[in-house]
Amino acid sequence: MKSMVVIPAYNEEKSIYKVVKRVQNCGMKIDVVVVNDGSEDRTSEEARRAGAIVINLPLNVGIGGAVQTGYLYAVYHGYDAVVQIDGDGQHDPVDLPNLLSKLQNGEADMVIGSRFVEKSDYKPSFFRKLGILFFSKLISLLTGEKFTDTTSGYRAVNRKVMELFAKYYPSDYPEPETIVYLKRHGMKIKEIPTLMNERKTGKSSITPLKSVYYMIKVTFCLLLQDLKGV
């Protein structure tokens, strides 16, 4: 199975080298594609130094657009599977073979690395926990299937899903919406337990005001998408 890892990165010069190296040392042959979303620092150089394929977006398009670039690249280059990993080092590449094996044996079209399928040391803040719980319940209700970690950006998808993502991918806060989008297209989604590291460098871009916008935007998108049956 021809596979690649896509890492969207915006101003991640401090962590991107290590993240790429860790993926390359995870024990399997896999291409690493870093989508540099118009960074103002040395993200592109650091990623290249680590040996990644680097796609430099001329302008900052936001997380959704950056991730979608990776899926587009995968479609154009005939990959069979894509794994999405954050550029800040929070996702552990040790779980990569496990995620891909579920795709390979046809158990799922998308596999989500969940922090909550099993008890883990990951302790989100009260509000983050509340948000995660809210979206998990809402999406479980809309899809009729149980999901524990709808905001996880650690995902592996097969060819069918990457083609769908190349056509449409939400521009911001995409993770919860894509689950409903894929279920509407009859895709199989599975969650498996993964470990989550603490953020090594930089800080989360989510501020309290953005959190409120995030909750409203995603809830609207989920409910309207469900109504439209897109």
Binding site: I53, P58, L59, V61, G65, T69
Partner: protein
């Protein structure tokens, strides 16, 4: 100068500005037509205020200018919604263009790198 003359002159100035932007190719005809029509309607109304009063009576509006405000509000809101849809569409296209350019650039860099290796 009466208020009717003032409103007529304002409409003419509005029309001239619209045509100026169209002539200098800063405004596309499909948007220009909105504003040309609006200017013409305003010019006609300026000298036919009784039409507005008749229309207000017909619709049961006691204060005729309120009807004008209501129409203006609906018009402005429609234009804003139309422009918001248009901007969303443009944003999507710019994003896709960006993505395609970035992927092509990567391909070109790889091709040039391979060629320079062959040359050596």
């Amino acid at each position: 100068m009466s208020i009717y003359m003032v409103s007529f002159l304002v409409s003419v100035i509005f029309l001239i500005i619209t045509l100026y932007f169209f002539k200098s190719r800063r405004l596309d005809f499909r948007y220009c037509i909105f504003f040309i029509l609006l200017s013409v309607v305003l010019m006609v109304i300026s000298f036919n205020v009784d039409w507005v009063e008749e229309a207000a009576k017909l619709l049961g509006v006691y204060y005729a200018p309120a009807l004008l405000f209501a129409f203006a509000l609906v018009f402005i809101l429609s234009v804003i919604v139309y422009l918001a849809v248009f901007i969303t569409n443009i944003t999507k296209r710019v994003t896709r263009l960006n993505q395609e350019v970035a992927i092509l650039k990567e391909k070109l860099e790889k091709y040039e790198e391979d060629r320079s290796h062959e040359d050596r």
